[in-house]
Structures are given as structure tokens and as C-alpha cells.
């Protein structure tokens, strides 16, 4: 119990004193996660919309595959990205292993199926509502995608936040491809793993509380900015 209390005290001390290491690690965590999230959203949201409105041969298979990939083990993703980016791998020449770019790639692979599947579910419901209207107005596929993405933006925000939650708490893949190098690729989750293995539970817990605070603050901030639950909205 004292470890938890020490953790809370140390967390507030680290935040209150603007601990430079904590700020650096936290900013790197956000940089990696938000970059991965942005790339994932750029891929996942249009893909979900296309899967909703287009009918093609392997559509059901693609949807089933994406649903299955939601549970993709991060360690396996990390291992595959490691192999691909290692010196003997096909992209070894790019020299990306043990960089934040490699961590972003791994996180993007992990969260893209998750965001696509949740977004697809929301867009499918909206499409069943809009289908006849948009067909009757002879809208192009591009116009349908734009309309669906805009009108479902709040549900898509929730999908993106689910992706953010998965990415910011991820440790297995980024540990493998990032290497947890101090001042280079160390992020909150890998730092927690390191401090726990060293037996410094208070510091590990402090970093854990900071991680939780960042996640909650970003979620609340996003909901507040998007006015999700405010009067007069859908």
C-alpha cells in the first residue's frame, strides 16, 4: 500500500517540479502515439467508409480480417517490424530500427485495424439511414464518403480515441523496435517496464499515474472540444 502512496506522491512531485526526464518521456510518448494515430486515421477512416459503401468481391473477407486483426498481438507486430527494419531485412537500408519512426510504424500497424473496424460499424449504421437519400441525389462515391465521414465525426472520434488508448498503453512492440534507449526512444510505458524490472515501484507507479493523467486529460479535452454531449447536438 505504501508503494501506491509513494507513487502518487512522487507522481505529483515529478509533475510539480517539471521534471525534465518526465517531460521528455511524456512528450515522446505523445509524439509517437499521436503520429501513429494521425497516420492510422488517414488510412482507417476512408477505408472504413469505402468498405461501407462499396461492394466488391472480397469485401466480407476484408471486414472479417480487420475484425480479427483488432486482437493482433503487439509483440508479434514488434517482431515482424523488427525483422523488416533490421539490417538484413528488406528495409534495413533505411536505418530506422531503434528510432521513434520504427515505433510509429509498429503502433500504426496495431491500431489501424481497430480504428477501421469500430469506424466501419458506426458508418454502416449511418449508411443504412442515408443510403436511399444519397443514391437518389446521384452522389458520387467521393461525395458519399465525405458526407458519411463528416456526419459520423463524433462516432469516429470515439473510434480514434480507442486507437489512442491502445497505442499510448502499448509496450511490447515499441520495446522491440525502439529498444527503450534513454534520451532517444524511451517512452512512458517502456520506462515503467524498466523501473519495475529495477524494483523502483514508486517511480514506475508515478510514471503510470502520469500516463493515466495524460490519457484522461486528452479524452476529456477531445470530448469537450467536439461538444459530444452538449445541447443541440446528435
Amino acid at each position: 500500500m505504501s508503494d501506491i502512496w509513494d507513487g502518487i506522491v512522487q507522481a505529483f512531485t515529478l509533475i510539480y517540479t517539471f521534471d525534465s526526464d518526465l517531460i521528455e518521456i511524456s512528450l515522446r510518448s505523445l509524439q509517437v502515439t499521436l503520429s501513429a494515430l494521425a497516420i492510422s486515421c488517414m488510412i482507417a477512416l476512408p477505408l472504413a467508409a469505402v468498405l461501407t459503401i462499396r461492394r466488391f468481391k472480397f469485401r466480407r473477407f476484408v471486414i472479417a480480417l480487420l475484425n480479427a486483426l483488432m486482437g493482433l498481438p503487439p509483440v508479434v507486430v514488434g517482431l515482424l517490424v523488427y525483422i523488416v527494419l533490421s539490417r538484413s531485412g528488406p528495409f534495413g537500408v533505411l536505418d530506422l530500427l531503434y528510432t521513434t519512426t520504427a515505433m510509429i510504424i509498429a503502433q500504426t500497424i496495431i491500431i489501424t485495424p481497430l480504428i477501421t473496424s469500430i469506424a466501419h460499424q458506426s458508418l454502416r449504421e449511418l449508411w443504412s439511414e442515408y443510403h436511399d437519400l444519397l443514391i437518389s441525389m446521384n452522389t458520387s462515391h467521393k461525395q458519399r464518403v465525405k458526407t458519411l465521414l463528416w456526419d459520423a465525426r463524433r462516432a469516429l472520434l470515439t473510434a480514434s480515441l480507442a486507437g489512442f488508448g491502445r497505442a499510448i498503453g502499448e509496450v511490447g512492440a515499441i520495446m522491440i523496435v525502439g529498444g527503450n534507449i534513454d534520451n532517444a526512444t524511451r517512452v512512458l510505458t517502456t520506462a515503467i517496464a524498466l523501473e519495475t524490472s529495477k524494483g523502483d515501484f514508486a517511480l514506475a507507479l508515478a510514471l503510470g499515474f502520469v500516463l493515466i493523467l495524460i490519457t484522461i486529460a486528452l479524452n476529456i479535452g477531445t470530448h469537450w472540444l467536439s461538444k459530444t454531449e452538449s445541447e443541440g447536438r446528435w
Binding site: Y130, M137, N138, T139, D151, A152, G232
Partner: protein, 234 residues
């Protein structure tokens, strides 16, 4: 654009025969009212003519290019489909699809908001409107594009007398401005008030096409006589 001519039009859904063969001709300025019992194929015929349903056999010909005819026709559904947007955004949606200038959009929107008495509610989510207001908005959204052909599927079903009167007034004024109308209804009184020609459908077959004046006095079809008398149509 006119006349609109169909030849041997047949509609099937999942192998089941729904409609046809239908041969008809709609001239400019017509107010063609489709009458017939439930399941007679009124909605299917309207949707097929508008292009929402693909005919299994036969042809639908407009006296202009297909792209032009598509641009100049609109459809109003029995249950109004509202985008999850404000009244103003719903009203101007088809204009945005047509990339009409902002000044024109605002000018036309202001005019139509006054006509349907929704200026005070222009920023309200359209999904919050009453059934009658939604239907007026759906009609205004169709008419704001100044279509040459307007299809309406039971536009006044389950609306009160006042709203029905308002919608009929809007329809009569748009006909006066050169729009041709084809609509379905179960309301004999409405058909008497609006129709120039009556198209009587039963079991997917167009049993009679008659001017409204003669249809209600001396219908050509035995089933039409029963329908007007309020008897069960076999």
C-alpha cells in the same frame, strides 16, 4: 428532357417479380398521380423511373442525355430522410453537391426557409423537427435545386390536414413554375385536388392511365372502381 417514356419496364427483387411490364409516357407539366392498393408497385415504379431501382428488363428513356436527366430530377421519400445536420445544412446539401456559389446558396436557402416557415429553426438539428416539418424540409430540399421532374412517394402520409395543405400548395406552385410531378398517394381527395392524370397500379401492372377528370367519374378498370369506392381490390 420530356417526354419520359418507358417500354416493357420490369422490376424484380431477389428473383421476385415486383413490377411490369410497364409502358408509359410522361409529358412536361404533367401531375401524374399513382394510385393503387398497398404492394401494387407504386414505390417501385417511382424508384425505377428515378434510377434508384435498376429495371430487370425494358427501357427508361428521357429526351436528353442521361447525365442531364439525372441532374434535373429529385425524389422525396415517404419517410423523410434527414442528414444529421442543421435545417440549413440539410436544405442546402444538394446545392453544395452541385457546387453552386455561396451567394446563390444563401439566397435560395433564405427564400425556402421563409416558404416552409423554418427560418427561426435554421440552426436546429433537422432530426429534432416534427414529422410535418421534416417532410416540408425534405420537399424544400428537393425543390431548391429547381428540378424539372419531381418524384414523390406518398409525401403526405400520416400528416395532418394543415401540413398536407401546405405541401400541396408548394407542389402546385412548383408545377406553375414548370416542374413536372409524379407522385403516389393513398389519399383519393389529394389525387382529386392535384392530379392531371391518374395511373392506376395493381399487382405491379398498370391497369389504367386516365385523365383525373374522367378517372373518378368513369374509371376504365374494374379494380380502379373498387379502389375509388373503398372496396377491397383483388
Amino acid at each position: 428532357m420530356f417526354p419520359l417514356i418507358t417500354e416493357n419496364l420490369v422490376v424484380k427483387f431477389e428473383g421476385k417479380h415486383i413490377l411490369g411490364p410497364i409502358d408509359l409516357k410522361i409529358d412536361k407539366g404533367d401531375i401524374a398521380v399513382l394510385l393503387g392498393p398497398n404492394g401494387s408497385g407504386k414505390t417501385s415504379l417511382l424508384k425505377a423511373l428515378h434510377g434508384i431501382l435498376k429495371p430487370k428488363e425494358g427501357t427508361i428513356r428521357w429526351s436528353c442525355l442521361k447525365t442531364e436527366s439525372i441532374r434535373k430530377q429529385m425524389f422525396v421519400f415517404q419517410t423523410p430522410i434527414m442528414l444529421r445536420r442543421s435545417v440549413f445544412e440539410n436544405l442546402t446539401y444538394p446545392l453544395l453537391l452541385r457546387k453552386i456559389s455561396k451567394e446563390q446558396v444563401n439566397y435560395r436557402a433564405a427564400r425556402w426557409l421563409d416558404r416552409i416557415d423554418l427560418r427561426m429553426s435554421m440552426q436546429v438539428p433537422a432530426t429534432r423537427l416534427s414529422g410535418g416539418e421534416k417532410q416540408k424540409l425534405a420537399l424544400a430540399r428537393a425543390l431548391i435545386t429547381e428540378p424539372e421532374m419531381l418524384f414523390l412517394d406518398e409525401p403526405c402520409a400520416s400528416l395532418d390536414g394543415k401540413t398536407t395543405y401546405e405541401i400541396e400548395s408548394l407542389l402546385q406552385s412548383c408545377v406553375a413554375n414548370g416542374t413536372t410531378i409524379m407522385m403516389s398517394t393513398h389519399d383519393i381527395g389529394q389525387a382529386k385536388r392535384l392530379a392531371k392524370n391518374i395511373y392506376f397500379l395493381n399487382k405491379g401492372i398498370l391497369e389504367s392511365i386516365q385523365p383525373a377528370k374522367t378517372f373518378f367519374i368513369k374509371p376504365l378498370s374494374r379494380n380502379a372502381s373498387k379502389f375509388i369506392a373503398g372496396d377491397i381490390v383483388e
